[in-house]
């Protein structure tokens, strides 16, 4: 049975169908950040939405589902200290959570979080430091399933981006990962599926290796996804003959990876 089953969920203009199996990492992408955020809130059971099931039961406010998942927006500040005892006490008293202190300290050292921190009465993290702290916390809480929004918020260095995207999608650390993607390229080859919210009110679940097709803006493809200033990106459901015809008629088209969408918008 799938870990999370979403059947005909209606959100904004979209109808969403998605299944997340155990061991899968799934990305969510839309032009509007709010759409991704709203979807993740429903998929994590925080906001109501009809048609989302875990173990055959609705996930909204479902205690069993909540106990095994954590939702984190990496652009949000969850911690204002690095003192382990203070974090441990707050997590226990406020949220009834325990966390792996050794893991938190180890990741903190690996990422040199202190180098991204101004230490005063409260710790002030740089945007990158804040993402590092949130990542360390997400790992140290050791929940099997994670829902992450803005995973690479504030990161600039490719090695940092790579480390975080690898860390939250690695099969060993988490059972499932549902990620609201802020940089598609960073997740190339790391996701099993991608849920795309198009500019045209449709939602599509694509396999990681699936390709899309780019046309000039004036062209009207059968299944358009995103409309850029000069180009339109669509599902590449074209037969070889059709592609040949396009070529023959000198209609510009280009097959691209789903991870390259942002380059054409």
């Amino acid at each position: 049975m799938a870990y999370l089953q979403i059947e005909n969920l209606i959100m904004e203009d979209y109808t969403i169908n998605l299944e997340i199996e155990n061991g899968e990492s799934v990305g969510v992408f839309a032009r509007r950040k709010k759409t991704v955020s709203d979807f993740l809130k429903i998929a994590s059971g925080i906001n109501p939405g009809k048609g989302c099931f875990h173990d055959g039961k609705e996930i909204y406010d479902n205690r069993k589902y909540f106990q095994n998942r954590i939702f984190m927006d990496f652009s949000h500040t969850y911690l204002t200290t690095l003192r382990i005892s203070a974090i441990s006490e707050t997590l226990r008293n406020k949220y009834g959570l325990s966390f792996n202190k050794e893991k938190f300290v180890r990741i903190g050292k690996d990422l040199n979080i202190r180098g991204e921190t101004m230490i005063g009465e409260q710790y002030k993290f740089t945007p990158a430091g804040n993402t590092f702290v949130n990542y360390a916390l997400a790992q140290a809480l050791e929940k099997p399933n994670i829902v992450i929004l803005n995973p690479t918020h504030g990161l600039n260095l490719p090695e940092d981006i790579d480390l975080i995207s690898r860390g939250i999608t690695a099969g060993g650390a988490f059972n499932t990962a549902l990620i609201g993607i802020d940089r598609l390229k960073a997740f190339r080859g790391r996701l099993h599926k991608i849920l795309l919210f198009s500019d045209f009110g449709t939602a599509h679940v694509l396999g990681a290796g699936e390709r899309l097709i780019v046309f000039p803006k004036e062209f009207e493809p059968e299944h358009p996804l995103f409309l850029g200033s000069e180009k339109v990106i669509a599902l590449a459901g074209y037969e070889r003959d059709e592609l040949r015809k396009l070529h023959k008629n000198k209609i510009y088209h280009e097959l691209i990876s789903v991870y390259d969408i942002e380059d054409h918008l």
Partner: protein, 201 residues
């Protein structure tokens, strides 16, 4: 090892609460004697006690739904659990305050037993203040849900404090007002529950 156990005990919420209650009991006893020396209004302690928890409850409830609920839900606490804990916390605060007020009145009677408790304390007022606390707590909870602007909220808090002080000073509290408040508090608590279970973050 001993030091760690000691630290663990002193950090426990129950220990902190017990320490605060014991300190309050001690201070109440001392204040009764001191208040007499400076001829203070004997009801002032009751006003201060319930006024403080009413305002604290108002601010706490507003911040719970306005800010903290989001993180609690993200970290795995369900809405039902949050509301249940909120109600329990509110009722516990109310119970502790009522017990402190009762302790104050009893000690007062024991020290100055030439006066009847009813001659010194107006029980309509004593019942009115905890009900105001409940109403304000529920109001703060509601305003947090509707995401009221923080500045407007603080102005409102100030206005409520002023209004409360004026009501206590210039009006005598009738029984019907207490029953009305009790009914409203019950309905407000119920309405808050249903709204809380449905509202979108």
């Amino acid at each position: 090892m001993k030091k760690e156990t000691f630290k663990k005990i002193t950090n426990h919420e129950a220990f902190k609460l017990a320490a605060v209650i014991l300190s309050a009991l001690f201070l109440i006893t001392v204040s009764i004697i001191l208040f007499d020396d400076i001829a203070f209004d004997n009801r002032i302690f009751i006003y201060v006690l319930f006024g403080t928890i009413a305002l604290t409850g108002f601010l706490y409830s507003f911040s719970l739904t306005g800010k903290n609920t989001w993180v609690m839900l993200s970290f795995g606490t369900t809405r039902k659990e949050i509301y249940k804990k909120y109600l329990l916390d509110s009722l516990l605060a109310l119970l502790v305050s009522v017990l402190l007020a009762a302790y104050y009145m009893i000690i007062y009677y024991l020290v100055y037993h030439d006066l009847l408790i009813t001659e010194v304390f107006d029980f309509h007022e004593v019942a009115f203040l905890p009900l105001v606390y409940l109403m304000l707590s529920f109001l703060g909870f509601f305003l947090g849900m509707v995401k009221m602007n923080r500045n407007v909220f603080y102005v409102l808090s100030g206005a409520i404090v002023v209004a409360l002080v004026l009501v206590i000073i210039y009006y005598s509290i009738a029984n019907w007002l207490n029953y009305l408040l009790l009914g409203c508090a019950f309905l407000f608590g119920l309405a808050n529950y249903f709204l809380f279970m449905k509202y979108k973050l």
